[in-house]
């Protein structure tokens, strides 16, 4: 399909694909098996300027937007979603800063994100606040010159590996969501430590840890925007980042589709390759249709985000929900086509199936986002526009 990419976007996609095939493919099974953080690959991505893609030019980035980021994530994810999410999480950890940070804050942190010298991470989820982000318990108490943080963040991608953290905490417990604020934290700040590394079903190359704050002092200069804006900033950040999860889902599905076609062509049963069987042909055709439809939606939404549209909550949720469901279905079918072999770790499709699952869960569970879409439908009908 022709998506009318610019020359620069074709270059970004081509280079991301090259990195994926030359650097990630040879080690992906090992990274998955050992649950090892892919530092070597992060270095290669940094050297190739991939972390510059989503950073504005004023801060040593290349000034690309949500779409450029999606192109990279999709290509990396086509080979290994665990690596892709480690890269994408650095973007997620920078978005609030890019959107709401002061000139001084951006100058201080973004160049190191752009060069890939430091990874970033975003911390919202807590043991008692998953889908219900209004149930946050981590607090920031105002003291002279800054704030004292106490509490625990859970399931934080790039936790422990990243140097820069965007953390959402309550500066005013009495106000609920309106009392939330966003802070930039740096690894190594006194009182800021990490909990255990989680063992996961999929995306096992990525690191997921708890962040623990015990009387952790954060200077006033590290508050992003104003006090009480944290919840709104979070919603904006996630609206911007969700197409990225969509592209991750599309990438995994594409990888699984390609693997399934290759296998169906060479596996002979009943005297014919599997791909000669109508049942298999139907499956592959449906997979191809779904992947292309998901890609078209993700690209269209990413372009909407980059167009400067004011509100794209609904579109962004649609791209993520649809692509994630497609990814789960396509990877499951790929395993089915591989049969017994697909269930074995010697082949890549069982990993893809495990990797796909998370896209239906994180950055807003698909059920939550369907609720968001429905709410928009209701609102719009109410306004009769």
């Amino acid at each position: 399909m022709e998506y009318f990419l610019s020359e620069t976007q074709k270059e970004i996609r081509g280079l991301a694909r090259k990195i994926a095939e030359e650097r990630i493919l040879p080690v992906r099974a090992e990274l998955d098996e050992k649950e090892e953080f892919p530092w070597e690959i992060m270095k290669a991505l940094a050297e190739s300027d991939m972390f510059r893609v989503f950073v504005p030019e004023e801060y040593e980035g290349l000034g690309g937007g949500c779409f450029d980021l999606c192109l990279v994530v999709e290509q990396l994810s086509r080979v290994c979603s665990g690596v892709a999410v480690s890269y994408a999480a650095s973007a997620l950890g920078s978005i609030t800063l890019i959107q709401a940070g002061s000139e001084e804050q951006k100058k201080k942190y973004l160049p190191d994100v752009a060069s890939g010298k430091k990874l970033a991470a975003f911390a919202l989820t807590e043991p008692s606040a998953g889908s219900d982000a209004t149930a946050l318990k981590t607090t920031a108490q105002k003291v002279a010159g800054g704030y004292i943080l106490n509490g625990t963040k859970q399931f934080i991608t790039n936790g422990g590996e990243a140097e820069i953290y965007t953390v959402i905490v309550l500066t005013d417990k009495t106000k609920g969501p309106r009392g939330a604020s966003a802070f930039i934290l740096e690894k190594g700040m006194p009182g800021f430590s990490f909990g255990k590394k989680e063992k996961k079903l999929g995306i096992r190359a990525s690191a997921t840890r708890e962040l623990v704050f015990r009387d952790c002092f954060v200077p006033e200069a590290n508050l992003l925007g104003r006090e009480g804006m944290g919840f709104i900033q979070t919603l904006r950040t996630l609206d911007w980042s969700r197409p990225g999860i969509g592209s991750q889902a599309v990438g995994v599905a594409q990888g699984a589709l390609e693997a399934a076609v290759d296998y169906a062509r060479q596996r002979v049963q009943f005297g014919h390759p599997l791909i000669a069987l109508p049942a298999v042909q139907n499956m592959l055709a449906d997979m191809a249709i779904q992947v292309e439809a998901a890609r078209a939606l993700v690209y269209a939404v990413a372009r909407t985000v980059d167009s400067g549209a004011k509100d794209f909550t609904e579109e962004s949720a649609m791209a993520k929900v649809f692509a994630a469901d497609v990814s789960m279905e396509v990877t499951t079918k790929a395993v089915q086509i591989f049969g017994g072999a697909g269930y074995m770790r010697d082949y890549p499709v069982e990993k893809m199936m495990r990797d796909a699952k998370i896209t239906q869960i994180y950055e807003g569970a698909n059920e939550m986002l369907r609720g968001t879409i429905a709410a928009e439908l209701r609102k719009r009908r109410g306004r009769r526009d």
């Binding site: 280079l15 050297e47 190739s48 300027d49 991939m50 510059r52 893609v53 290349l62």
Partner: protein, 261 residues
């Protein structure tokens, strides 16, 4: 530290076909790439520049299309690129090639170190490096697997020899050839690709480098390739008859006849 890296454009596959009619390589349908061994030379040059400052110049001799790999070299960190390209250079053997490159290097003039790969993936001779150093009167260290130290006007290197390693010190300017153990070549960067697009690859003719016309191209070549061919590999089979003793005897006899034993 100013470095010149010599790179060659080669067909991007290890399964090159030979046209049986013309006895030449079939280059159609194969993408051209930087000779893999030269990519280690380029990486080492860029790495040295990052450590010690200076600039990296990529140099190639070849047809006009070789400009592509020079742009790729810029995308991977080279600062400038020169291509020596002229119909008069056609048919150059290693001697004529090394002479031509030496003229280009004399014209670039400003360098401390020349780096090349140990050999090319198409010609496979491994001669151009040492011949080039000889032509230029530069100290030459082949098969370098590690650059240990760079001091004022000198360099310490480790090179691979058959049964181990040698540590060698030499004065600068010098020339080295590198082996693949020396580094992992980086991929291009997005900023490098943007630079490569707008960068000027300067093309020199034989006249531009003031080459002695009797020493370039076919005229300057001491060797000529008369024929390239795949060795004729015939398989023959024969089933031996008789009892075990007879079969063994016939087999031994046949092995002796064919001088295998």
């Amino acid at each position: 530290m100013n470095i010149i890296v010599c790179i060659k454009q080669v067909p991007g596959t290890t399964q090159v076909k030979i046209d049986p009619q013309t006895n030449s390589l079939v280059r159609q349908g194969t993408k051209n790439i930087i000779n893999p061994f030269d990519s280690y030379a380029l990486e080492e040059g860029v790495h040295l520049k990052e450590r010690f400052g200076g600039k990296v110049t990529a140099l190639s001799m070849g047809p006009p299309q070789a400009e592509e790999i020079l742009r790729e070299a810029i995308a991977c960190g080279a600062d400038q690129a020169f291509l020596v390209s002229d119909r008069l250079l056609g048919g150059s053997d290693t001697l004529a090639t090394s002479y031509t490159l030496s003229r280009a290097i004399r014209k670039i003039a400003d360098f401390d170190l020349v780096i090349c790969g140990r050999q090319t993936a198409d010609g496979d001779t491994g001669q151009v490096g040492p011949e080039l150093a000889e032509t230029m009167g530069l100290p030459f260290v082949a098969y370098v697997n590690k650059i240990e130290e760079v001091g004022a006007g000198q360099i310490r290197l480790q090179r691979m020899v058959e049964d181990g390693y040698e540590v060698i010190e030499t004065s600068l300017p010098a020339m080295i050839s590198v082996v693949k153990e020396i580094n992992v070549p980086r991929l291009p960067s997005l900023r490098g690709l943007a630079r490569a697009k707008s960068a000027a690859v300067i093309v020199w003719t034989a006249a531009d480098i003031e080459a002695d016309m009797s020493r370039i191209g076919l005229n300057g070549s001491a060797t000529k390739v008369i024929k390239i061919f795949f060795p004729n590999r015939e398989r023959r089979g024969e089933k031996l008859q008789g009892c075990m003793e007879e079969q063994v005897e016939t087999l031994v006899q046949k092995l002796r006849e064919s001088r295998v034993v």
